[in-house]
C-alpha cells in the first residue's frame, strides 16, 4: 500500500507537471508555487511578517533575493514627512521633492526659502509647497533635504549590474565630509525632535560610509535615548550594528541586528541577511548581551532559520513556551521533514526516500514535536498537534496521526486557511488508512475529493493553501489501490496508464463507463476528473479504424469525435518524390480538408474504384493519403488527438503504444501496388514503382526503430535502397525528376555504376 509521499510514481508525476511535459495528462490541478511538494501551509499558522523565512528553494520565500535596499523605506519617509508637515496623503509634491527631485532643484528651493530674491527652478514654481515661505517647518524641511540629497550620492546608489561605478562599494569624498560638518551644526541648532532625529540618522550614516566606525557608534549611543524607537531609530541602529561588524565586534553587531530584526517586518530580511555569528565565543557573548528572554528567543530564532531549527526550538521553548518565535521554526521543521521524506530533492543531492524506523532524524524530530504537542503549553497548541499528526502520517502511523488531529480540533480557530489545512491533513490520513477502496470508503472520501477538485483558493480566501501535491498523491494512491482490486477503469480515471488505450476492449469499456446512464456520485466524480471524454474516444477510434482502412465506420465515429473539424495542414493527397511537409503546408490549397471531410473524400474515391472509375488515379490518391496520415506524411495532424497526444516525434512514444500503427505504410504500399496494376503509361508506372520503394525504405526505418528505441531517425543511414525496379523506366521524365530530387536514388545509380 502506498502511504508515504516517497512513492516513486508521485515523484515522477511531480516532475511531469513541473517540466510541463505531460501534454495530455497533466491535468490542471492548480498552480505550482514555492511550496514545492508541501502540504503543510506555513501561512496557516505563522505571522506573515516571517513569510520570507518560510522554507522554500528561494533564498527568501516569495522574494528571491532582497534587493530593496535603496527604496525599502521610501513609503515610511514620505508618510512621516506628510504627518509632520500636515500635507495630505494624495499630495504628489512632497513625494516629488523627497524621491525624485535632483539635488540642484532642492538647493534652489532651499535658497529661495532663505531669501525670496533667489529664483525658484521652473519645475516647481507652480507647487503649492513653495508658496508658503513663512512656514518654519517647510523651511526646515528644505534645509534638511539639501543635506539628505547630498548624502544620497554615496548612501542610496541604485547599482546597475554592468556598471562598475555604481556597483562597487561607495566611499565618501572630501566634499561629503565637509557636508557632515554642516549636518552636525544643524543637529546642534535644531530643537525640533522630528528634524533633529533625521539629522542624527544622516550623521550616523555618514560616519558609517566614511568608515569612521567608532564615531558612528558614539553618535548612536550618545543620543539614542533622546528619540522614540521608530523606524528612523532602528535604521540608525542598523548602521551602528554595521559599524560593529566592520570592526569585527561580532557579538555586539549580531545583538543589534537581532534587535533591528525584531523592530518590524520591513527590517526582517536585511537584518537576517546581516546576522553572522563567527565563532562560539562571540555567539555566547551575544546571548549574554540580551536583557531578557524575548531578546534571547529572537537570537535563537535567527540561528534556527539559518542552521538548526530543532536546537532553536528547544532553546526557545525552554525560555518561553508561549513565544511566537517558535511557530516559524516549527513550520520550517515540518516543511523540511516533508521534503526529506518525499524524496523530491530541490538541491540536487541524493536523498534516500526510505525512512526507516531507526532513521535518527525522524526520531529526533518526532520526539521534539510530540513532547511540545503533548505539553499543550504553547500559544498555538493546535499547530503542534497538527504537526505531530502530520509527522506520524509521513512516518505511516495513521492511528497516531488521527489521535493528534482529534486533539487539535478542540482548539482549532475557525479561520478559512486553518480549517482547510486541517481538512486536508485529515483527508490524506484517512485515505492512507484505507487498505482497500470499497463503496463505504469511496463515500467517505468523495466530499473531500470533490472539494479539492473544485477548490478555488482565491475565491475561498485560501491564498497560498498548499493542496496540489496532496491531491495528486491521493489520485495516484487511489489508482494504485484500484489496480490491486482489478478495477481498471477507476484506476485509469485516477492516473492514466500509457498502455490503456492499446487494448480495444478497455477502450470500449471506458467509453461505456463515461456514457453510463445513471452513474453514482462517485462515478460522476471519476468521469469529471478524467481528462478524456467520450468524444475523444470516438475520435481515437475513428483514427484507429482509418488506419485499418475501415473508412465507413471511421466516418461514423469521426462525426461524433472531438477533432472532426480540425483542418489538416497540407493537401493529404499529394505524393512527393522527396517529402517536404513544410512545402505542402505552405502551398496554396483550393480545398482544405478536415479530419472528417478527408475521410469522406477517401470513401468517395473507394466508391469510384468499386465502379471502375479512374482506377489508377483514385488508387494513387488513396495511396498518397494513407502515406500522408502516417508518421512519414504531411498530415500527422490526422492522428494527433487527446488519446494519442500531439506534436510528438516518434521516439517519444512509449513502446507498445501506437507507434506500430502510426509508422506503418502497408496500406499506402497496397494502394500503390493497385495503382501500378492499373497504370497505363510508363510515367504512371515509374511513379508507382518509386513510391513503393519509398514505402520499403520507411519499413527499413521501422525495423531499425523496433530493434533499437534510441535509433535516430534524423541522422541514421541504413544503406542503399533497392531501386532496381526503376531501371525499366529510364526513358521517363519522372525518372529524370527522381534523379534530380532524390539523393538516395543518385547514390544508388552511382553504386550500380
Amino acid at each position: 500500500m502506498m502511504r508515504r509521499f516517497s512513492n516513486k510514481s508521485l515523484i515522477i508525476f511531480i516532475s511531469i507537471i513541473v517540466a510541463g511535459a505531460g501534454i495530455v495528462w497533466a491535468c490542471a490541478d492548480g498552480g505550482w508555487d514555492d511550496g514545492g511538494n508541501s502540504s503543510f501551509t506555513p501561512e496557516s499558522f505563522v505571522d506573515t511578517a516571517y513569510a520570507p523565512f518560510f522554507y522554500s528553494d528561494q533564498f527568501y520565500y516569495g522574494i528571491g533575493h532582497d534587493e530593496a535596499h535603496v527604496q525599502r523605506f521610501n513609503d515610511d519617509v514620505v508618510n512621516e514627512w506628510q504627518g509632520y508637515l500636515g500635507i495630505s496623503k494624495s499630495d504628489t509634491e512632497l513625494h516629488y521633492f523627497l524621491l525624485q527631485a535632483r539635488k540642484g532643484i532642492v538647493d534652489s528651493v532651499s535658497q529661495y526659502f532663505e531669501n525670496a530674491s533667489n529664483p525658484l527652478p521652473k519645475e516647481v514654481t507652480h507647487f503649492s509647497m513653495v508658496q508658503n515661505r513663512d512656514s518654519k517647518k517647510l523651511k526646515a524641511f528644505f534645509t534638511f533635504l539639501v543635506y539628505a540629497k547630498a548624502n544620497e550620492a554615496y548612501a542610496a546608489v541604485v547599482s546597475y549590474y554592468w556598471d562598475y561605478d555604481t556597483s562597487k562599494k561607495q566611499t565618501l569624498s572630501d566634499a561629503d565630509k565637509l557636508i557632515r560638518i554642516g549636518l552636525e551644526s544643524q543637529f546642534s541648532k535644531t530643537k525640533d525632535k522630528f528634524i533633529k532625529q533625521r539629522y542624527w540618522f544622516q550623521i550616523i550614516r555618514s560616519y558609517f560610509f566614511g568608515a569612521d566606525y567608532n564615531t558612528c557608534i558614539d553618535w548612536f549611543e550618545k543620543y539614542k535615548d533622546d528619540f522614540t524607537q521608530n523606524v528612523m531609530y532602528y535604521r540608525a541602529m542598523s548602521y551602528e550594528a554595521g559599524a560593529y561588524y566592520k570592526q569585527k565586534k561580532y557579538s555586539q553587531a549580531n545583538y543589534l541586528y537581532s534587535k533591528v530584526y525584531d523592530a518590524g517586518a520591513a527590517f526582517k530580511t536585511v537584518a537576517h541577511y546581516s546576522f553572522h555569528p563567527q565563532n562560539e565565543s562571540d555567539w555566547n557573548a551575544t546571548l549574554q548581551l540580551c536583557s531578557n528572554n524575548q531578546e534571547k528567543a529572537t537570537l535563537w530564532q535567527l540561528l534556527g532559520i539559518y542552521f538548526d531549527e530543532q536546537r532553536s526550538i528547544k532553546e526557545i521553548y525552554q525560555l518561553d513556551p508561549k513565544s511566537e518565535k517558535l511557530e516559524l521554526l516549527l513550520s520550517r521543521l515540518i516543511n523540511i521533514e516533508e521534503n526529506r521524506v518525499s524524496g523530491y530533492d530541490r538541491y540536487g543531492y541524493d536523498v534516500s526516500t526510505h525512512i526507516t524506523s531507526k532513521d535518527s532524524a525522524k526520531l529526533q524530530t518526532l520526539q521534539l514535536v510530540e513532547r511540545i504537542a503533548n505539553a499543550q503549553n504553547t500559544s498555538k497548541p493546535y499547530m503542534w498537534q497538527l504537526a505531530a499528526g502530520y509527522l506520524h502520517f509521513l512516518y505511516e502511523d495513521n492511528a497516531k496521526a488521527s489521535q493528534y488531529y482529534t486533539l487539535a480540533k478542540t482548539t482549532l480557530p475557525q479561520t478559512n486557511l486553518l480549517q482547510a489545512q486541517y481538512r486536508l491533513l485529515l483527508f490524506i490520513n484517512q485515505l492512507a488508512s484505507f487498505k482497500t477502496l470499497d463503496a463505504a470508503a469511496e463515500s467517505k472520501l468523495l466530499p473531500d475529493l470533490e472539494w479539492l477538485q473544485t477548490l478555488n483558493t482565491e475565491k475561498m480566501g485560501l491564498h497560498n493553501f498548499r493542496y496540489t501535491t496532496a491531491y495528486s498523491w491521493a489520485k495516484l494512491n487511489m489508482s494504485a489501490k484500484y489496480k490491486k482490486q482489478n478495477e481498471w477503469l477507476k484506476a485509469e480515471c485516477f492516473a492514466h496508464q500509457d498502455t490503456f488505450y492499446t487494448d480495444k476492449k478497455q477502450t470500449a469499456n471506458m467509453k461505456a463507463f463515461l456514457q453510463k446512464a445513471n452513474p453514482s456520485s462517485f462515478e460522476q466524480y471519476c468521469q469529471n476528473i478524467y481528462p478524456v471524454k467520450t468524444t475523444d474516444i470516438n475520435e481515437f477510434q475513428a483514427i484507429q479504424l482509418a488506419f485499418e482502412d475501415r473508412i465507413n465506420e471511421a466516418i461514423t465515429l469521426m462525426k461524433e469525435g472531438t477533432g472532426s473539424a480540425t483542418q489538416l495542414l497540407g493537401n493529404p493527397f499529394n505524393g512527393r518524390i522527396r517529402d517536404c511537409h513544410d512545402c505542402d503546408h505552405e502551398a496554396a490549397q483550393k480545398i482544405k480538408y478536415t479530419k472528417l471531410s478527408f475521410l469522406e473524400k477517401l470513401k468517395e474515391m473507394q466508391d469510384k474504384i468499386a465502379v471502375n472509375q479512374d482506377v489508377y488515379a483514385n488508387n494513387l490518391l488513396l495511396a498518397n493519403a494513407f502515406y500522408n496520415i502516417s508518421y512519414y506524411g504531411n498530415a500527422r495532424y490526422f492522428y494527433e488527438c487527446q488519446v494519442i497526444g500531439g506534436e510528438f516525434l516518434l521516439y517519444s512514444f512509449s513502446p507498445n503504444m501506437f507507434d506500430n500503427m502510426l509508422v506503418d505504410n502497408h496500406l499506402a504500399m497496397g494502394y500503390y501496388k493497385k495503382a501500378l496494376a492499373a497504370a497505363q503509361t510508363d510515367e504512371q508506372k515509374a511513379k508507382c514503382t518509386f513510391m513503393i520503394a519509398k514505402c520499403t525504405q520507411n519499413e527499413m526505418y521501422n525495423a531499425a526503430f523496433k530493434k533499437n528505441k534510441d535509433f535516430d531517425f534524423g541522422y541514421a543511414y541504413l544503406g542503399p535502397v533497392d531501386f532496381s525496379a526503376m531501371q525499366n523506366f529510364k526513358n521517363t521524365k519522372y525518372y529524370q525528376d527522381v534523379i534530380d530530387e532524390c539523393g538516395y536514388f543518385r547514390e544508388y545509380l552511382h553504386l550500380k555504376k
Partner: protein
Amino acid sequence: MLLHTKQITVAFILFFVLLLLSTSCSHGNKKTAVSFYYWRTNYALKANEIEALRNNSVTKLYLHYFDINYEPSLSRAIPVVPVTFSQKMVNSIEIVPVIYIKNNVFENSKQEEMGALASNTWHLVSQINASASIRINELQFDCDWTVNTAHLYFAFIDSFRKYLVQNNQPVKLSATIRLHQIKYSDKTGVPPVDKGVLMYYNMGKINTSDLLSIYDRPTALKYIGACKKYPLPLDIALPIFAWCIHLRDGKVVELLSKMDERDMLHDSLFIKTGNFRYRANNSFFKNGFYFKAKDEVKVEQMGQNQLIQMAQDLSNNCNKNVYQIIFYDLDSLNISRYDAQIFKQVANYFY
C-alpha cells in the same frame, strides 16, 4: 681514418647540439616563471603575499575581476561582485584580468546575445582598469564549457576579440582548459584564444568519499598524455588552495573555504576520526560556519610532495613550452602552508 675523425667530429657536434637542446629548456634559456591567481574580491595584498611575489620574481598576477552568472530571476547573465581595490598596484607586476563565466550563462543564452555580452564584459573590464590605473596586455576567460555550450562560448570570445580590435586594444586572450577538454578536444573544441592554461585541479566530485575533489593522481594520469597534442600553447595552473567539505548525514552541506586542517587540529570542538577527517562533538559556530553535533569535515589540501609529484608528472607528459606555472591562489593562508622556495622548485621542473 680521416673520414672516421670527421664523422666523430660531426657526431660530437651533433651530440653537443642535442645536449644543449635537451638541457636548456625548450623555450630558450628563459626559466619557467612563477605566477599566481588572486581570487579575493578586494585587492589588498598582505605582507606574506607581497613577500611571495617578491621571492618568486613574479611579473604577472592573474587577478579575478568578476564572475558572470546567469540569473534566472532576471533571465539574463549578470556580473557578480566586481573586484574592488584597497591598495595601489605593484608597479613591476603586470595584471591579467580573469573572468570566470559560469557555464549556465551559455546554457541559457542565444547566439545573437553574445555580442551584447562581450560588449558588457569589455565595458566593465575597462571601467575596472580605469579605476585602478591598470593597463593590460592579456585577459583570461575561465569557463568549464561543454560540448553543448562550446559554440556559444567560442562565439563570445570571437565577439570579445572584435571589441578589442574596434577599441584598438592589443590584448591577447587566454583561457583555462580543464583536463577533459584537453583529452577530448576534438569533441569539446578548442577556444579561439592565443594561449591556454591547463587547470590541474578540481578533478573530482565534491562528495563524502575519500577521494579528493582537488586532485586525484590516477584520474590526472589518464588525461595528461593528451597535453602533447593540444593545439594551443599551454601554461599550467596548480592548486595550493585548501578547502574543507562539511558533511551531514552522508551529504555535502557546504564548502568551508579559507579553512584547512590546522583549524580542526587545534580545536577541541572537533575530534579527529581519520586521515583528513574530523567530527564535530557538539553544535557550534566556527569561522562563520555552523556545525551540528556529529557533522563531519573532510579536509582537502595539497602537500608539498603532491605539488612536486604533479610537476614531475606534467613535465614528463607535456613536452611543450611551459612559460609559467600559475598557482591558485595567492592567499596568506595558502602561502603559510608551504616553504618559501616550493614555488620556484616546482617551476624548475619545466625547464
